[in-house]
Symmetry: C2
Subunit: 347 residues, 2 copies
Amino acid sequence: MPVLLVSPGRMLAYAAMATARGDRGLTDVPGFRVGHASDPRGLTGCTVILCGDGAVPGIDVRGLATGLRDPGPCDPGHLVPAIHALLLSGGSAYGLDAAAGVMTYLEERRIGFRLRQAVVPIVPAAILFDLSVGDHRARPTPSMARRACLNASSLAVPQGNVGAGTGATVGKLHGMARAMKAGLGSASARRGPLVVGALAVVNAWGDVMDPSTGRILAGLRDAPRGTLRVGAAAVLKGGGPPRGFRRRGSVPSSTTLGVVATNARLTKVDATAVARLAQVAYARCISPVGTRYDGDVIFCLSRGSVRADSLRVGMLAIDAMQEAIIGAALAARGVAGLPAARDLDDI
Amino acid sequence: MPVLLVSPGRMLAYAAMATARGDRGLTDVPGFRVGHASDPRGLTGCTVILCGDGAVPGIDVRGLATGLRDPGPCDPGHLVPAIHALLLSGGSAYGLDAAAGVMTYLEERRIGFRLRQAVVPIVPAAILFDLSVGDHRARPTPSMARRACLNASSLAVPQGNVGAGTGATVGKLHGMARAMKAGLGSASARRGPLVVGALAVVNAWGDVMDPSTGRILAGLRDAPRGTLRVGAAAVLKGGGPPRGFRRRGSVPSSTTLGVVATNARLTKVDATAVARLAQVAYARCISPVGTRYDGDVIFCLSRGSVRADSLRVGMLAIDAMQEAIIGAALAARGVAGLPAARDLDDI
């Protein structure tokens, strides 16, 4: 986790805690590699999680505006027992195409589900809407996703405006004018041999808050050039958008994409339960969350042999996911006229 | 909401706020009546929510140990457009029988789905496991549920050890010996003409906490006669139960049953979205929540003509549900050797 140059206080505490224990993020879990490809001009990008020769998946969808490709293998009843990579992408539904680049990369390396001569890499993908920042024609392509694969490593996960988080924003009740920049975050939690890593791309319609204080880190501002975070929940309760929001005809759909990885040996049923539990982190750090403007989803990936109950894994997943979400807000940098937390909080 | 005789501090603040604004709970929503029937010796009971000539329902299930009867009509695609009552019952799966008493009560009054001569009252039901306190042979029956219907009123909802909350307990990671008593709570939130009421029966496997402070109000204690709430999440992360929990062969299944009612005119799709959003209150007030030992479910009932976006209704539902959950912990009284929050917090 990069050192954040923040002012004293809670925000520093998070970064300091993570740095002190040498938290690399999701890549702290053995066997997983993370790679980004970013388009800092078009403001889009994608992030791939490579799972070696396969990871047991689970999924939990809570948003009502999801964009998914091949989520089937995450179902406990699905024929395919494992997945080989996961792609998180900007570009809205167009970004689903990019998964082809990951498949080609894996096919060339003979990684996938084997059927006689053929190898079929299993690569679920989830997208987020970032067409309303930067160039709306800039969208992750198969070649960009291939680049993300080539960039993949087990080093500390770069955070902020990278990969699928390049164009991520939050606080969009009044459209983009009063939104803020967020991005991608990653963190891990460890107890003895058990490691649980999390990665979050925070493009929420609502605000990101610190659950320990209730303070809003990034979200809806009072005015287009305002610095006051007014609280999306309060605005909604008072009868603010989304009515006008809809009438204006601009619905910048949103999404928080999350991945939890662990070296615990889990079944698909276990992995689904862990993905489900990790949603608690969304509920505590994002407000509102899981709306019909959000495509919120969490994947769980298990690869390892550590014996641990799924509930224990889930509790650590909540911690790691909370830290990843907060990291996504704190590591982001302002772009395209949208300030990030560090621009407003005297950093 | 009854006045709680509590020591100074946050807990008082909740009760005082509710009392000050004349909060009756779910019955603040016009057209809904709530009735309890309680067996304070057997430690079980049931609670009915009567919906007049019908309410548009929604449901969201997050627990993995649910016990439901006739949830079908809550599905947006189901033929039946409205339900006539909702039953929350103790008695584990046996308690599902009790719904027959509600159906008979409504049939006699010609309330239901009409098919020529016949009237079929639609009464979804959800149960919780309370057989491990009091007399395990004491279970809500159709006649008890009928009594709940006869007790139904639009007065302030009695809270604590009443109705389905009579045998409700929390903090059961080490079985019943270190658990605490909780119960039933109800609250409402209002903005102009829009009213959202909530009712929660808190029989969680985990702890109940105040999200504004993180303080545990009721939950797992340090020892059978202990008064220290050690934090179920911390115990789980440290590798505590559930392994031993399962080995012991005693799995006191748990559940938080929730109902949100509103005078907003909602479709079934809207009502489902509101039930979904209200789960945020569970995530913030209960830890762990939605485990495979919990049958957590939230129903939403719409009956009225107020125009309001489902997201706005959902945000108020979160507030009301949080207060209902906290009320369920604070209004409960200790029984059967299990202390309640008020027994340990110098009340």
